[in-house]
Subunit: 586 residues, 2 copies
Amino acid sequence: MAPSRRRSWWGWGFEDQAIDLAQRQALASGLGSLFGVPGSRAADLQVREPPALGSIDLPAPRVSMPPSLSPIASTDLYHRASHTHGKSFVDVVRAFHGDFSRPPDLVVFPRDECEVSAVLDWCGDHGVAVVPFGGGSSVVGGVSCEVDDGFPAVVSLDLSRLDGVVEIDGTSRSACIGAGAFGPDIEDALRPHGYTLRHFPQSFEHSTLGGWIATRAGGHFATNYTHIDDFVESLRVIAPAGVVETRRLPGSGAGPSPDRLFLGSEGTLGVITQAWMRLQDRPRFTTSAVAHFAGFAQGVVAARGMAQSGLFPSNCRLLDAGEAATAAGVADNTTLLVVGFESADHPVDAWMERAVEICRDAGGRVPEGVKHSSTQGFAGTWRTSFMAAPYWRDALISAGCIAETFETAVTWDRFDALHAAVTGEVRRTLERVCGGGRVTCRFTHVYPDGPAPYFTVIAPSSHGSQIAQWKEIKAAASEAILANGGTITHHHAVGRDHRPWYDRQRPDLFAGVMASAKARLDPAGILNPGVLFDPISSSPPFDTSGGQCCAPPCIGEGDPPSTPSEPPLQSFASPLSDPLRKGGSL
Amino acid sequence: MAPSRRRSWWGWGFEDQAIDLAQRQALASGLGSLFGVPGSRAADLQVREPPALGSIDLPAPRVSMPPSLSPIASTDLYHRASHTHGKSFVDVVRAFHGDFSRPPDLVVFPRDECEVSAVLDWCGDHGVAVVPFGGGSSVVGGVSCEVDDGFPAVVSLDLSRLDGVVEIDGTSRSACIGAGAFGPDIEDALRPHGYTLRHFPQSFEHSTLGGWIATRAGGHFATNYTHIDDFVESLRVIAPAGVVETRRLPGSGAGPSPDRLFLGSEGTLGVITQAWMRLQDRPRFTTSAVAHFAGFAQGVVAARGMAQSGLFPSNCRLLDAGEAATAAGVADNTTLLVVGFESADHPVDAWMERAVEICRDAGGRVPEGVKHSSTQGFAGTWRTSFMAAPYWRDALISAGCIAETFETAVTWDRFDALHAAVTGEVRRTLERVCGGGRVTCRFTHVYPDGPAPYFTVIAPSSHGSQIAQWKEIKAAASEAILANGGTITHHHAVGRDHRPWYDRQRPDLFAGVMASAKARLDPAGILNPGVLFDPISSSPPFDTSGGQCCAPPCIGEGDPPSTPSEPPLQSFASPLSDPLRKGGSL
């Protein structure tokens, strides 16, 4: 079951790509100046090593699968540990500090839909919670096994075996793809045919099609077709109550869209097993330019002009001066707007020509002119750096820092106020709880009616204090977002981290409708309890007869998640080291 | 309450635009050759006049509103007659033949959301059915008052007073618009500010924003942003159970989209009262070209190339030879592809240059070259003709013909088979039940993964036989669509006409979910019963106390909808007259 290149059981991505100790120490020595706190305190940073897997002591599994399913169920330490948490800040901090107190009792790897059904049936019969798990890259606590104590056990349902590109329809430029397929595998299968799914979230290498659909993932393209929502032609979903299969349709006006019910359902309504996805031809023409603006406000005007122009740039990424410094090494305090176009069909010079005009009209300079590339070009380079960023987040965690990103979307008329409020509230909170820190902003996507601002927060903390401090920062940011008309999440999903604000954002009656939908599709309430919905304590008593269970239901009686003690705040100093710069934006 | 220019109470659009008798007689004399039946039988056509409104005898209203609501309730003959039917073929045939046996007991014109709520409360208390009515232009039986006999009465809820553009946010290019606003009123209010909603369904003049949202309307632009779905930024909905208001958000990944639940809900889940809509700048640059293809298949290849090019033409309308002849006067049996681009931001020459190449690569000729227009141009002219077409549908009905359009969407790989099957099945059915007739096809929208084919059927029939014959034709077409992977409706909605096939297309479990949603939002099942859902017979007994009701519940005991007797088939002959050509495509 283990892939040839192993994914980290405690942090982001592949084990062999984790930032090594020397690099992390170099990083730590440069953080003081980044946080704007005295250089003398940099010595307070403690760069630690993650625990050894062998040192992790997991509670014994409380259930076992029946013989028909036991071949696909694992109690292996690596499997259970790597399915205990997702990859949110809280998840990684807990894992890094060896907190695996609430692992899945079993990790189950179904090979086909029948086995998915059988697992759901068995879990439903026994009231066992099921956490659907694609790549496990959730950054919002969406795949954590920390379910309500009412559940006698929890199973992590790893869908990675439902992989592969099953069929390609070149005429319609669509493909039937297993929900467990990871990004690179999808692209590898499509490349020889000249196609691409063209969906590149930051988690691309470590997340799956089903995960993207369940979380309404956003690709890294800035406009028009970039959300996975727009690429879904049809779905197959296995719910505890049965199978839902929608028709392959390029468009339909027949009642409310069934696909849209499952887009964003985060594993709570059913298990997405397969989808027909709209493909694109691989780009042949690409062009990019970088405009510099003296102030952030000018850059915002240019980004809005681009979003409202109908040009549909593939890239339109605004970086404030702080982001421009860390992600692109721009030291002159300018705001950057990175604009790109690409096409498989036609040169895009006319498009870029107009885009450059829009930048210049807003006061931008394009000192390096327009670059063309016949292959990946700038976007490819940028993407590599972009995808490396989460490893540096983990490196910061290992140094006892706080490193978090959060995102929203808001209409243009409210952006300035939202930006001021979020930045202000987060800075004040950082000052108060961390003694300093840094918050920067970029746009990941732009719409005609508003941008999707993405904030990066880095702050000094210390091992043991990270989660408690993070909670205060997260709450301050989320309150400011909601108060200023933003959505609690644009493409990171809701998970556990965003629940309180999601509940306030979601219209109450719609919440009721969704609860009814949940009751219809998942009557026992076993699917990803705590995410999107309040957990329903499982009603059927846990049945220990038949030798299927190896332990009585007892979760939560003695082992709540341990909360690390909280040592005093620490802060740091000394110049920004190269590794952070080279690692790209966080 | 009556607008200054009165809408027809029996047929399409404005009364003063109905085709006059002389034109209808000229039309009739040309139909024989169109239907391909002997010229000698043209004399069989009987061009009739619609009944006089005064001759319509409506059953007495069975309820009256309480004093607080009576000022907004009407029992006026014009109001009740014009709210009895929508504008489907069956609706217009019934109205034309004076069948008003099941009118609304009352037509209610709420002036604000409070009154909408109050009407829903009162109707809920008394188990009275409520049919939300925007412009009443449904062509699928979506606003018909023919509800289940279990309802003691039925109220048509006319939302036209919830009109007006309430607020414009120029920065975000969005506007808050009342759901009862008609297309031209919206454009009139936006034009001085330089904006357009850019949503031009064929019913544009006679339908409302709320109707568009409730039915997932498609605009007449061919690609990218054209569906009303994409223009909705947020919604307000009054359901019997309460109010749902979603946030103004340019994008969001926070759970399943609440807006998408109401998009396509066809008045069954709540009454849409207001929406923030994404606007566009008014186009300044427009260009169009018409490519001719020797065969339909070549035109399909070109349309597919265009759809998959990423050029996003505003127009990409493929007309088969039959459509090209009737709609564009093209007599050489060629297939036409009408391509247009427009922009408020930039010249679109580069776009059109590539589009023409795509046409030529597929074997197309562009004999008249590319046309530029600084204002409405071709699209405007075409639109005028396009919007006149339904009046000609009514003219054909008045001559005892069948004239119907239906549409679908299908992936490109299945289009040829769908086209062959639908055309073949409909032709065979026309032969069998009408002795001849004609079916033509065009594309109204093209997607990267498939087209939206739109079929027009015209056939000889006779007064009294039209509905029964239509049913056979509709069933043949719908069966062929479903069997060949199409959707039962692309933008006409489900209504009553498409229910049997919608039920088969909709996944069963999703139907259950929607029924749960309905029960939550509309517990008494009073909203548009029979549409999307099986009617729930109203459980509360009808309360005649308090003087609020003027008649006991008695619907359906003596007056089911009259089915006209069926005289023998008739067919027609003689050359195609000018009026049909001039009237544009049907």
